[in-house]
């Protein structure tokens, strides 16, 4: 039945479109291949992790706070173990703040990541 009605204008394309279709599919496949290849061969570029301003802002603030918190924690522990209070806390809080600022600048893409030549 389907074969009988196919020729009667239900189908606007000519009957020999099977070959054309497969040719088009092949061309599409080639184009897809060439379109997806560059992204596969790129090795190790960095993209920022941000998809929206909200996420971006939240990321910056946690980066800063995390640096300060880690500095304060390490300073406090060193004070307890070595008994040099308050010097460990003072020094490591400042270092932690610097680390937090570094984190934020890295997250914002202001400072490049460390580059070394192996």
């Amino acid at each position: 039945m389907a074969d009988g009605t196919r020729g009667k204008g239900d189908h606007k394309e000519p009957p020999d479109d099977e070959a054309a279709l497969s040719a088009r599919l092949q061309r599409l496949g080639e184009r897809l291949d060439s379109a997806s290849r560059p992204s596969e061969n790129v090795s190790g570029p960095r993209q920022s992790a941000d998809a929206s301003a909200y996420a971006r802002g939240f990321r910056m603030s946690t980066e800063l706070v995390a640096g300060v918190v880690v500095g304060a924690l390490i300073g406090w522990l060193i004070d307890r173990w070595l008994g040099i209070s308050p010097w460990g806390l003072i020094v490591f809080l400042l270092l932690g703040f610097a680390a937090g600022v570094l984190n934020v600048m890295r997250a914002a893409g202001v400072v490049r990541e460390n580059k070394l030549n192996d």
Binding site: V42, A49, R59, E63, L95, R106, N114, L116, D118
Partner: protein
């Protein structure tokens, strides 16, 4: 009415004892199991057919694969694809936990910092151990920027080390705080409806339309946040893994 009540851990049944600590199956564990089984079922069922023209389910599974794969390639390079199963698991696990948490009466597992911290520390240790395995002690050159004068090198190196140690903290706090804050905001606005209705009667219930509209908007926002935070968690995992794969460049 208590906006914090939703985060309570409930022991469903006891599994055994480890010393004095009771090992219990909690509602948190239940939702993690649901997420794991749901994901497994979804992915297995979606890829079972393997048709050239995908069904809707298969298309969704292929989209999630492509999404994570392109994320890993663009942040960690082609070599990072060996960590693809790890990143894909983390992304899908966090995403489904976040999404399941949005269903009313469901428990949001990722709103507990112990869960996000465990995930972040897993990533941190993976980076550290793989970096040491792959590059040996050369990995620690990550902390020594090039072209820095020797006399300020100790300062720079200690700042770099602190910055490295602070990674799992910011990594875990970001996901946890987003989920916690969002769910508390939802509960607080829902509480306004009850408060208005209780205080003003019929007028209050009519006025409750305003906070209700807010909840609808916030729920939509929370859907976005749930996806976005899972994405950010996975992208940062890739960025940290990139350091382990190429600490130099």
């Amino acid at each position: 009415m208590d906006p914090i009540h939703q985060f309570q851990i409930i022991n469903l049944f006891s599994v055994g004892k480890l010393g004095n600590i009771e090992i219990a199956f909690t509602n948190s564990a239940l939702f993690m199991l649901i997420a794991v089984f749901g994901l497994t079922f979804f992915l297995v069922a979606a890829t079972a057919g393997g048709k050239a023209v995908p069904t809707r389910m298969q298309s969704a599974a292929e989209l999630s694969y492509e999404f994570v794969a392109s994320m890993v390639r663009s942040t960690a390079g082609q070599e990072g694809m060996k960590f693809f199963p790890f990143v894909f698991t983390i992304f899908m696990f966090v995403l489904s936990l976040n999404m399941f948490g949005l269903i009313p009466y469901a428990f949001t597992v990722t709103s507990h910092i112990i869960i996000t911290a465990a995930l972040a520390i897993t990533v941190f240790l993976t980076v550290l151990l793989y970096g040491l395995y792959r590059h040996g002690l050369h990995f620690f050159n990550l902390f020594v920027p090039k072209g820095v004068p020797v006399y300020i090198l100790p300062l720079i190196v200690s700042i770099e080390i602190l910055s490295f140690i602070s990674r799992p903290i910011s990594h875990s706090v970001r996901l946890f705080a987003n989920m916690l804050a969002g769910h508390i905001a939802l509960k607080v606005f829902a509480g306004f409806i009850i408060l208005l209705g209780g205080a003003l009667g019929a007028l209050g219930w009519a006025g409750g339309v305003l906070p209700f509209a807010m909840i609808v908007a916030l729920t939509a926002l929370e859907m976005l946040v749930a996806f976005l935070q899972a994405y950010v968690f996975a992208v940062l995992t890739c960025i940290y893994l990139n350091d382990a794969i190429h600490p130099g460049h």
